[in-house]
Amino acid sequence: MTTQTQSLYRWKDDPVLTVEHLSMRFGGLLAINDLSFEVGRGDITALIGPNGAGKTTVFNCVTGFYKPTEGRIVARHGKGAQTEAVDHATRTGKRWHKSGEGAVFLLERMPDHEISQKAKVARTFQNIRLFGGMTVLENLLVAQHNTLMVASGYTVGGILGLPSFKKAEKAAIKKAVYWLEHVGLVDRADDAAGDLPYGDQRRLEIARAMCLDPQVLCLDEPAAGLNPRESADLNMFLRYIRDTHGTSILLIEHDMGVVMEISDHVVVLDYGVKISDGDAAAVKNDPKVIAAYLGVDDEAEIDVPEVRQDLSGAKGVPHE
């Protein structure tokens, strides 16, 4: 655990992803209203909130599945906020800008497939989206599509059976096996992904996203439906990803146990508005957060021990 050693708001100093004044409107419904937050480089950031708070909508905006009504979403490769580069890109109407410091990507301008390919923001889905009729291995190879496409000379070289492509494919399989080892699925590599038990599917989906070598990994309720043991394993796995690969993680989670244990930074949403933002300790004592989860007025004095306990997410609390 590396959390408490650095400054309190370091995600503002070195954000890998910033969401600025994001609004998303569906017809008459304002799902997200002027939302801003940062995801620190190398942090595990949790986005929490009651059902219908708009968390998945934020994900869909970040990963390009929805075009936000308003706002800017910036992903950065390289250190620091790179303000100049961001301004430059915004002004010139470009989708990204590369400079000596690194590169910035304006995600709201990019189509979904470019976001994962170029900006290196990968995601998983709340209702797992694996390629059920393909094997576990194939799932991980599809994730390396763009690399393999180039290696296959955009198919021409592949049809001719060039050795360079064979080499690239071997490397891709190697990478897949690496991730399968870490999620404990090597033995099932040749089984249909749809045949796996639920927990394995969740982990496979994360492994698949990791095959993209993402800078930011967005996980939509990764612990949903997992038992406490699986949930604990997941925490270890996420930390491993962050520590070994330096991937920043943004996750939506309902399981407070998971959130409070592993998050460096928690952002709380309610009705599309940010109501709290800080480290886990700060957020869990925020009366607004407690109110949102209980559904009472902000002003009301709350002191319900069970709720506090639930929010603080002691590890022993069962979540079945």
Binding site: F26, G27, T56, N60, F65, Y66, F125
Partner: protein
């Protein structure tokens, strides 16, 4: 001007027929999310039954009072075509409900081939011409262009077609909005599993949907036969595609949309033929289908779909 008014009337007449067929597509799509490809051929079946009833009454029983003949032809054709609609659903679609989506589409295409060829084998491939039965009409306006007189006439036949369509449409809307059948139907549209948990007999509701669709197609079949005076086993395909276009244009799943779409397709087709080229009138309908689906897939009166991620 007279020419224009005349085309307007013709277009509305043709559009009514398309609208009646389109309702069948839109209801079935709304409730089970499939394109009932055989529906155009159900319309053709309806036309053939109408013709047979008409001939039996006039030649065998010697009934000459036209309103009675038409009324009986309408009722009998609606009844018998309903049986066809019910049977098709029962044999070809119901066993595949819950299966993957391509399967019922393939059986629907298969059914369409079966119906066409069944009629071709049993009734022959040649067209069946029926001399015009209802003549005369009301002259609305008259004028002359370059010395030739042009009249805009609303014929009695067109009155009957538009009138019948209108009455049926109103009756139908009431049926859907006021009765428990309509309620079950809408419940099934929203969520079939939930509806069945709440005690809606889903199978029965779907069957009734097919029956109603077929009955309306039978009406369209009779109208078509009266209007054009000639039918063959192949009329279902083109009419079906155009009616489907109408359903999509109006917003699939929406009954008023289907009717509106039908009228628009009828008008477009007639005006296209009148002012451009007759040969390409089908291309016009097909282009509209493509354009609508590409640029406004939820149609004029349909609900927009938000992609669920």
């Amino acid at each position: 001007m007279e020419y224009f008014v005349q085309q307007l009337i013709n277009g509305l007449t043709l559009g009514s027929i398309y609208g009646l067929i389109a309702i069948g597509y839109t209801m079935v799509y709304g409730i089970i999310g499939m394109i009932n490809f055989a529906h155009g051929d159900v319309f053709m079946i309806g036309a053939f039954i109408s013709l047979a009833v008409f001939l039996v009454l006039t030649t065998v029983f010697g009934v000459t009072f036209l309103p009675i003949v038409l009324f009986l032809a309408l009722v009998v054709s609606m009844l018998f075509t309903s049986f066809w609609g019910w049977t098709i659903e029962r044999l070809a679609y119901r066993p595949l409900r819950g299966s993957f989506r391509l399967a019922p589409l393939i059986t629907a295409i298969g059914m369409s081939i079966v119906l066409q060829n069944f009629v071709q084998v049993t009734q022959g491939a040649r067209v069946k011409p029926l001399p015009p039965q209802i003549q005369g009409g009301v002259e609305l306006m008259s004028g002359s262009v370059d010395g030739t007189t042009i009249n805009a006439q609303l014929s009695y036949m067109q009155m009957i077609i538009i009138g019948t369509t209108f009455v049926l449409m109103v009756a139908f809307s009431l049926l859907i909005s006021r009765t428990s059948l309509g309620r079950s139907q809408r419940a099934c549209e929203q969520d079939r599993k939930m509806a069945s948990l709440l005690g809606v007999n889903v199978d029965r509701t779907i069957s009734l949907t097919f029956i109603m669709g077929a009955a309306l197609a039978a009406v369209a079949g009779l109208m078509f036969m009266l209007l054009y005076g000639v039918i063959d086993f192949y009329i279902g395909f083109l009419a079906g595609v155009k009616a489907f276009t109408a359903a999509v244009l109006g917003g699939i799943g929406s009954l008023p949309g289907a009717m509106l779409g039908g009228l628009l397709i009828g008008l477009i087709e007639v005006f296209w033929s009148a002012y451009f080229t007759v040969e390409y009138k089908d291309v016009a309908a097909f282009s509209i289908l493509a354009i609508v689906l590409i640029f406004m897939p939820s149609g004029l009166l349909g609900k927009p779909e938000i992609e669920k991620v």
